[in-house]
């Protein structure tokens, strides 16, 4: 098979100049068979099982990186939501279990392990309550463990009791990790319609309908899309959509190839490729820059939501054409602290939390990596989570909130989390109260699916 000169140059340009990389290869491991008669045997079983499948994860991924010349930014592990198999334990024991997860991840050499999770959209089991209660302590006691709690779904509605509980947990996590800029909250996501096969940490877990072990891959590539849009010049929006699709098609194909090859090396089934455009704090790897290249002056300008909607839709169409294994979130991420362009839009006052909320209605994955003042009332966080969940259940999509009420900081300050988590300017939140609404408690009923206006 021969290739055109231009085709080869295009691939080299993507991998070498435009920051195209595979954002994550995430090994999903089922822990449902790891329950023992007491916490000690359970911990041993969990540790052994994660090591059994994950021992060579980093090495295999590195080998594939070299063979194909495409770098894999992160190698990670996702496990069965801990509250499911380990429902019988109390919060102290669950903390011990989380420390074991942390230790296993350290031994394997991955930076994050996700799945300290509970699915409580309809209500709580005893174990789930214990798990949620233990989250602040886990975030303090571990470095690599990520937690997610699903509080709403289109089929169940929004569990406002869980939303209230999570807002308290977020505040408490911020407090117990205050020495590290409340970084614990950066590893804790509150979800609506959580996908079971999402490879992106912190919200990843290995869903109950997944096989024993599987490999999911998340691609990246805002830099590649940005350059393609710039090269296209002043074309109309249909042509621009075509340009985006063409580019994402190629990155998805590469992503699937890498995922399949890593899975093949492990000798395990390949799961899905998540086609989300995921930014990093690196220059030129920004969704905000893509939106600006599309034509809005800055993120937050009128038209931003439309541009993002078009971008997200084009990404999905191209991804679905390129792979039959698309799953996870598969949209465009707009985390504030992890995207240089978003950071500067917030700093210059162009982007507010309200506009961000509107943007999350047309893309994945919600209000992500938002720093707010540490003295924000828990009820306001609950209100923000409830708003996001409402967008999720009504539009039948995944939304999430990863909000960091940075202890001791106020609007105008900036917090540096380091590495991929980036830098977050503290955003202003309306001081209007939502207490009387969220404190009613109970559940917002599941929405109707017809008369969709």
């Amino acid at each position: 098979m021969s290739y055109e000169f231009d085709e080869i140059v295009e691939t080299i340009k993507m991998t070498e100049l435009e920051n195209f990389d595979i954002r994550t290869v995430t090994l999903g491991i089922n822990l449902r068979d790891c329950i023992g008669s007491d916490i000690k045997t359970t911990k041993n079983k969990v540790y052994e099982k994660i090591l059994k499948y994950g021992r060579h994860h980093v090495q295999y991924a590195s080998e594939i990186e070299k063979t194909y010349g495409i770098s894999i930014a992160n190698k990670r592990i996702a496990v069965t939501p801990v509250s499911i198999p380990f429902d019988c334990f109390g919060s102290d024991e669950l903390v011990e279990l989380a420390v074991t997860l942390d230790k296993a991840a350290g031994e394997i050499g991955v930076d994050y392990i996700a799945g300290y999770s509970a699915l409580v959209q309809k209500g709580f089991s005893t174990g789930e309550l214990e798990l949620i209660k233990s989250i602040p302590e886990v975030m303090k006691a571990t470095k690599r463990v990520c937690s997610s709690v699903n509080v709403a779904s289109t089929k169940a509605g929004i569990n406002i009791d869980a939303v209230n509980m999570m807002s308290e947990i977020i505040k408490k996590t911020a407090e117990v990790t205050k020495d590290d800029n409340s970084v614990g909250c950066a590893k804790l996501v509150t979800y609506c319609n959580i996908p079971e096969d999402n490879p992106f940490v912190a919200g990843a877990f290995h869903g109950v309908s997944e096989p024993e072990v599987t490999l999911n891959v998340g691609i990246s590539g805002p830099g590649v899309v940005l350059d393609a849009i710039k090269e296209a010049g002043n074309v109309d929006l249909q042509k621009l959509a075509e340009v985006i699709k063409r580019t994402v098609f190629k990155t998805t194909r590469a992503g699937e190839l890498i995922g399949r090859k890593v899975a093949e090396k492990h000798g395990i089934p390949f799961g899905i490729v998540d086609i989300s455009l995921a930014p990093t704090p690196a220059q030129g790897d920004s969704i905000a820059d893509v939106l600006k290249a599309m034509g809005v002056e800055d993120v937050g300008a009128p038209g931003t939501t439309a541009a993002l909607a078009m971008l997200n839709d084009a990404v999905k169409k191209a991804g679905l054409m390129a792979s039959s294994s698309v799953g996870g979130m598969s949209g465009a991420f707009i985390p504030v602290s992890e995207d240089q362009g978003m950071i500067s839009a917030v700093k210059s006052g162009n982007l507010t939390i309200e506009k961000l909320e509107a943007m999350t209605a047309v893309c994945s994955v919600g209000l992500d990596m938002i720093a707010v003042a540490g003295d924000i009332p828990a009820a306001s966080i609950a209100g923000i989570i409830a708003d996001e969940c409402a967008i999720g259940i009504i539009n039948d999509k995944t939304t999430a909130v990863r909000i960091i009420p940075v202890y001791g900081k106020t609007v105008g300050d900036s917090v540096n989390f380091g590495g991929l988590l980036g830098e977050a300017p503290v955003m202003k939140v309306s001081r209007l109260k939502s207490d009387n609404f969220v404190n009613r408690g109970g559940r917002i009923p599941a929405p109707m699916r017809s008369l969709t206006n």
């Binding site: 098979m1 021969s2 290739y3 055109e4 000169f5 085709e7 080869i8 140059v9 295009e10 691939t11 080299i12 991998t15 070498e16 080998e63 070299k66 063979t67 194909y68 010349g69 495409i70 190629k250 194909r253 590469a254 699937e256 190839l257 399949r260 090859k261 899975a263 093949e264 000798g267 395990i268 089934p269 390949f270």
Partner: protein
């Protein structure tokens, strides 16, 4: 790998011979089915190895000077790599070159060849990228 009807017939005959002519039909059927499954999985192991070729693509660019092609091709030749295609362009002081190379007969694997190329690229102060062909096929061909 797909097994033809002819092959299935042969497998069945052999099975009947080994089980004896009086063996019940269900037993023969079961035996044949398991044999076919074994053959299919053994020749097509987990994953999709059918797309893998033994070809690699070398891309090189930098400031043009004598000896670049010679150094690269000598290394390929020493390692029993077969060059299938070369295309090269000069733009002012710069050159770009692309080679498609078959490494199936080489005693070295891609990684060791990459290491040798890294040495050459340092010596000659040029860029050399070596990637498996699959990534190009996946990206540019449906």
């Amino acid at each position: 790998m797909k097994i033809t009807e002819e092959e299935i017939r042969k497998i069945t005959q052999k099975t009947i011979e080994s089980l004896g002519k009086s063996a019940p039909l269900e037993k023969v059927e079961r035996e044949v089915a398991s044999l076919i499954k074994e053959i299919e999985t053994s020749e097509n192991p987990a994953g999709s190895s059918e797309i893998t070729s033994g070809k690699i693509i070398l891309t090189s660019f930098g400031i043009n000077h004598p000896g670049i092609v010679a150094s690269i091709t000598k290394s390929f030749s020493d390692n029993l790599c077969d060059i299938l295609d070369i295309s090269q362009k000069i733009l002012g002081d710069f050159y770009t070159m692309i080679m498609i190379v078959d490494i199936t007969k080489s005693l070295k694997d891609l990684r060791s060849i990459q290491e040798e190329m890294n040495k050459i690229s340092e010596e000659l102060k040029i860029k050399i990228y070596l990637q498996h062909e699959d990534v190009f096929r996946y990206m540019h061909r449906i």
